[in-house]
């Protein structure tokens, strides 16, 4: 499967190119999340994937931390549901 790369800019203005893994949605909370990778592989072949929240800022989306453990648990539940389909 072809890699889809996106560029993200952190708050220090540093640009990073990461691989887009997935965009997921929590319909109940009307939240969207970006799942991406920095191509970091573990010894067992697993890939480290990152999840950030897409929040609206000045008519566009920006990425934000997922700060609440409850929200994080919910995201993992959504991911689990997706991969179980």
């Amino acid at each position: 499967m072809e890699k889809e790369m996106v560029r993200i800019i952190d708050q220090k203005g540093i640009e990073k190119t990461v691989e887009l893994i997935s965009i997921i949605e929590d319909k109940d909370e009307n939240n969207k999340y970006l799942v991406y990778s920095k191509d970091e592989k573990q010894k067992n072949g697993n890939l480290i994937i990152y999840v950030s929240k897409a929040v609206v800022r000045e008519n566009s989306y920006v990425l934000a931390n997922i700060e609440s453990d409850e929200e994080w648990r919910n995201i993992k539940r959504i991911l689990s549901e997706i991969v179980s389909r």
Partner: protein
């Protein structure tokens, strides 16, 4: 349990042993959750356990997984309930960590599941335009880390304004250069 195949070990003893393994794993930060028993158990980063302990724990977890998976359907269900776990054929490690200084949430994912996530992804275009509902949504996260490059020029402009307001000239200059570069691309 009368129908358990090993008469030398009682069902309650098995549950007790497996619960101990899970509790020990959790107490040592080795696993955060135990929703998926087919998970990979390698630690994402430095484990607080010594190597020997970690290996022993890994074996214990694998035995636990094997015990449940190989149990007949009735026993398996009861074990799941007793241990408060859910077995699944999916291999997806559930372990979250804060990346130092960045507090990013991350997971370890089997390559097959990465493919599955890609297949099931919403199109990138959903982040290109803001829906009206989203605009009115209360924003609680102020100090976000990063921005997606979808409307890059707008993002740089916003960051530039912030940098200027905060008096961070060095960042402002960098962003100004980036902005000019992006504008040049439009020409």
């Amino acid at each position: 349990m009368n129908n358990y195949s090993n008469p030398l070990v009682t069902y309650d003893e098995i549950v007790e042993a497996l619960t101990a393994i899970i509790n020990y794993s959790k107490a040592n930060g080795y696993i955060e959750e135990y929703g998926f028993l087919n998970a990979k158990y390698d630690s994402i980063n430095t484990s607080p356990l010594q190597k020997e302990q970690e290996e022993a724990l890994l074996q214990a977890l694998q035995s636990l997984e094997k015990t449940i998976i190989e149990a007949n359907k009735g026993i398996r269900k009861q074990l799941e309930q007793a241990l408060e776990v859910i077995t699944s054929e999916n291999i997806f490690k559930i372990k979250s960590l804060y990346e130092q200084n960045q507090e990013l949430r991350k997971l370890s994912s089997n390559p097959d599941l990465v493919i599955k996530l890609k297949e099931m992804s919403l199109p990138l275009e959903v982040l290109n335009k803001v829906e009206k509902n989203d605009q009115t949504k209360k924003e609680t996260l102020v100090d976000d880390l990063s921005k997606i490059d979808i409307s890059k020029i707008q993002l740089i402009k916003t960051a530039l304004e912030k940098a200027r307001k905060s008096g961070n000239e060095e960042l402002a200059n960098t962003l100004e250069k980036q902005l000019l570069k992006e504008l040049e691309k439009l020409d």
